[in-house]
Symmetry: C2
Subunit: 236 residues, 2 copies
C-alpha cells in the first residue's frame, strides 16, 4: 500500500514520520536522522547495492521502484520482492551484519535515503515501539517468504503466474483503465514466477485468449481478477 504522504522533494521529515518503519520516532529522534539533505538519486537501471557487498544501514526508498533479486548458480535471477516508497532495503544485512544476500536495482528513477546501522541500533535500544515496528516488518516479510516457498514448491507455473499478477495488482494497483501500474519485461516476470521467459509469454497469451487479461506491449490490463484468483488457488 502506498503511504498516505507522498514524498515530493521537500517534506522528507513528514514522509518519514508517517512511514511504516519510522512512524514511532519522537520528533527529536527524527531530527537525528539525516533528513536535511536530499536523498540519493538512482536512474532507471542503476544498481543500489550488489549481492555480496558489505552494507551496514537501511536504504529507505522515498520515490521510485526497486527490484530486489538474487542471482542463482547459473546466472538466472530470482526476484524476491519490490521496494516502493516507504519500504526499507538492506534490513536483513544491517541487523545480522552479514553481506548483502540480494542485489537491488532501480527500475524507475528513484530516490533513497541512507540511515546508518549505528543509528538504527541506537534507535532500537532506546525506542521499544520502533523495535516492535522493525520486528513487524521482518515478520511480515518472513510470512510472505514462507508462502512463496510453498507456492513455488507445489504450484504449476500457470497457477503461479496468475498469483503474481494478482500480487502485482495489490502492490502497485491498477490505473483507471485497469492496467497494472508497473512495467516489467517478460524476463522480469519470469524471474518473479521462477520460470523461463518463453513459458511466461505462452501463458500470458493463453490468459489473453481466455479474456482474463489484455496486453499492450508491457502494459497488462486485468479483465477478470476473480478468475485469475481462482486459477492461482490463492488462500484469499
Amino acid at each position: 500500500m502506498l503511504e498516505k504522504v507522498q514524498y515530493k522533494g521537500d517534506n522528507l521529515k513528514e514522509f518519514f514520520s508517517k512511514s511504516t518503519v519510522f512512524k514511532h520516532l519522537t520528533d527529536e529522534q527524527l531530527d537525528y536522522l539525516p533528513l536535511d539533505q536530499d536523498p540519493d538519486r538512482y536512474k532507471r537501471g542503476a544498481i543500489v547495492y550488489e549481492e555480496g557487498s558489505r552494507i551496514s544501514g537501511f536504504f529507505v526508498v522515498c520515490k521510485g521502484v526497486i527490484k530486489i533479486y538474487k542471482t542463482g548458480f547459473d546466472g538466472k535471477d530470482q526476484i524476491i520482492r519490490f521496494a516502493k516508497p516507504g519500504d526499507v532495503m538492506g534490513f536483513r544485512s544491517t541487523i545480522t551484519g552479514e553481506l548483502a544476500c540480494t542485489t537491488t536495482k532501480s527500475i524507475e528513477d528513484s530516490e533513497i535515503v541512507y540511515i546508518s546501522g549505528e543509528m538504527v541500533k541506537s534507535l532500537v535500544m532506546s525506542n521499544g515501539d520502533f523495535a516492535m515496528d522493525l520486528l513487524q516488518i521482518a515478520c511480515n516479510e518472513l510470512g510472505e517468504a514462507n508462502d512463496y516457498i510453498t507456492d513455488i514448491a507445489q504450484k504449476t507455473v500457470r497457477e503461479r503466474l496468475a498469483e503474481v499478477l494478482i500480487q502485482l495488482k495489490m502492490t502497485f494497483n491498477l490505473d483507471a483503465a485497469n492496467y497494472l501500474q508497473i512495467s516489467l519485461t517478460r524476463e522480469e516476470l519470469a524471474s518473479i514466477v521462477g520460470t523461463a521467459t518463453e513459458s511466461v509469454i505462452r501463458l500470458l497469451s493463453e490468459f489473453k485468449q481466455d479474456k482474463l487479461i489484455e496486453l499492450q506491449g508491457r502494459r497488462i490490463r486485468i479483465l477478470n481478477e476473480a478468475k485469475l484468483i481462482k486459477i492461482s488457488n490463492m488462500h484469499y
Copy 2:
C-alpha cells in the same frame, strides 16, 4: 547448533539464560518467566499448534524436534524448517498478531515452554538487547527463506536433495559413524525438498549407487560430503 547447556529436566532457568533468544535477559527478567513449572510434553506425532489457529506467544523448545510445515492447496505438506532445543516457534504470529501460518508437529518426544505474547512485548520494550536478539533471529530466518526460494525456483530436484542432506547434517550433526542424527520418512524428505516421494527414493538410490551415501532404513550415512556439496551447487 545445539546449545551448550542441554535441558535435562531441572535446570530450566540456566537453559534459558544460555539460549539464543533469552540470553540477554537480566536475572530478574528470567525470574519473571514461568520457569518454575515443568515444560509441556508432546509425544512423537503430537501437534503443538495448527495452521490457522490463534496463537499469541512463543513456544520455546527445550527438548526434542519439531517439524514446522505448511499444507498446500492440494493437501501436500511443505516443511519450512525444524525447531530444536533452544529454538522458538510461533514467533511470527506473536509479533504480527496474525493467525499461525504453519502447523508444528513433534517428531520426537518433546518438551516446550510457552511464553505469553504480553511477556515478550514487555521484554522488547524494556530490554533493547533482547529486541536486537529477536531481530537477529527473524532476519536469519528471512535470509534462509530467501535462499530457499531461489533454490526451489532454479535448482533441479537432484541438486536440492543433495543440499537438503547437507543442511540436515549442519542442523542435526552426524553420529560417530557418520549417520544423520535425525530420522525422517521418505515422504518427509520429499516435503522438505518439494518433490514427490518416489523422486526422493530414486535419487537416494542413485546417491547410494554413486557411493555418496549409505541407507539403512531411515538412517542415512554420509559417505562423501564434498561430492554432495558439489552436486548441490551451494554457495559454500
